[in-house]
Amino acid sequence: MSRYPRARVALLAVLASAIVVNSVIALAGAQPADIVGRMLSGTLGNPYGLGQWLARATPLMLTGASVALALRAGLFNVGAEGQVTAGVLAAAVAGAALPAATPAWLAVPAAALAAAAAGALLGGLCGWLRGRFGAHEVVSTLMTNGLMAVLATWLYGGVLRDGAQVSTRPILGAARVPTLDRIAPLFRGSSLNATVLLALAIPFVVDRWLLRTSAGLRVRAVGDSHESARAVGISVSATYTKTMAIAGALAGLAATHFVLGVKGAAEDGLGAGVGFAGLAVAVIAQGRALGLVAAALLMALLAQGGLVVGAVVPADVLVVVQAVVLVAAAAVAVRWHAPRSVNP
């Protein structure tokens, strides 16, 4: 048990972030109140900023749900980063390979499915290695991150390169996910696209699946105590494989936002960072669906807010704040992830 009660840790975190932000703002020679005002008006104060904020939160909800699901089985999915990379690759390849006559109702799901499948393959591999051989998932997912980074750089620099472009061949027009300005013209110009609807639904769907299905019950049972789960006849290794495959698929789906929604193609570094940020989202959310959405919105607000105030203070100040928030949430969450007392 922590020597520091929850409330004190949370207070400590608020203080720490306030000190970090204030001192950096002061060092940059600006007024803290002015910066906060700019940040809020630049994100929440106008439709474009609002759109960009929601767009930034979209992939974080998916990677957050991915990490949170794995945590329910007692697994740390540090591999969302590589699973997103795999999804981006797959979505770009599938989206460009579709026959020109493919209708949108078929093209979008096909490309999204390819992204999910690529993530599932990568995640499932790590889950299987854990269940079958006891290979610790933190190590294996970190290694698949490295592998995917190398593979992506190689493919984007070689076979997937579109002539003199740095990006891949554009995907089929019908495979593009529509931007939301058709429904809400307000968001015109922002990256917000229909993927946000999927991303908003996923945490609740996953929650329901965990609570209301026997497969979900098995995941929770394994997470609470794999010994007890084994004792009542649940196959722990199969559960690990399935959970990590689904978690990988959720992370891979983030490619729907990046490739099908925003870019229409893929390039090296597209989607970088959202995997690790998803880990932060999941830890802050402490395992609740609404919490995932809120945490993704918070992290996106900090990231987008950083860009808005970037002209006055360094944009990355708010990423440091993200890290402080993450640590505080992890400290507060001591009890929540307690079931995990397994040996690697």
Partner: protein, 296 residues
Amino acid sequence: MIDVLVVFAAQTVTAAIPLVFASMGGTLSERSGVATIALEGYLLVGALAAAIGALATGSAVVALGAALVAGAAAGAIFAFTVNTLRASSIVAGVAVNLAAAAGARVALELLYGSASNSPPLLAAAARTGSLERVALLDAILQPTFILAVLAALGVHAFFARTVAGLRTTAAGEHPAACRAQGIDVATVRWRALVAGGAVCALGGAHLTLLQHEFVAFMSGGRGFLALAAVILGGWSPGRVALAAIAIGSLSALDATLAGRGAVPSALLHALPYALTLLAVTVRIGGTRSPRALGTL
């Protein structure tokens, strides 16, 4: 042919130095029972501190000292988060990496007005009028090489010969038994994590001194490669150092073969990750991790 081999050897040494430092830091930390994926962040912090130190004084010794101090500070933050706040070591590691990458860019922008890189070390040294020391900076490869060898020998001796090393190992194997013996596990881990951060950060200093500037994200995944070396070496300092050198030789091989197209460079870069994946799967040589690793 000899020329190629000499170039290859030199490049292996250069590529292996930061990996040896980082993997020694990782060994120190992980043997105490705390999973340490913060190595990537330590490298960045060390690289930045070295650039600041070198630009301020023109001295490579100051640069290395600054890296050592900054790495120890980063290790202390990690230790505070894991030991005192009892946050998960994986989450804390991700947080350290995140904060280091972003914090380095903030510091760059505040100090030098650019978020991407520091001014070149040469120009700064010239401004302070110590051109001879610039030549020293140029030849720093030798001092960091010697330091890396010393770090590996030191970590080996620490675990093989000292009581403190034995206690660190014990804290990583069976913290409860340690406590029963009257050993303060938290203190043992604090020391291991601070020392681990400091040693790892020297690898970052090497990168800065080699490239004559600090560049944002210049660690480029070497922290994770070093973690791979720790695992491939079975948490045993000698074998970890060998693994780090082997991984370094792969990227040297890539540099040496560049343009010859004999082996796809992606394959060489993927090899350490694939081998590590294989190693944790089949447990090469029956090595296993410190028992308490991953429970935090």
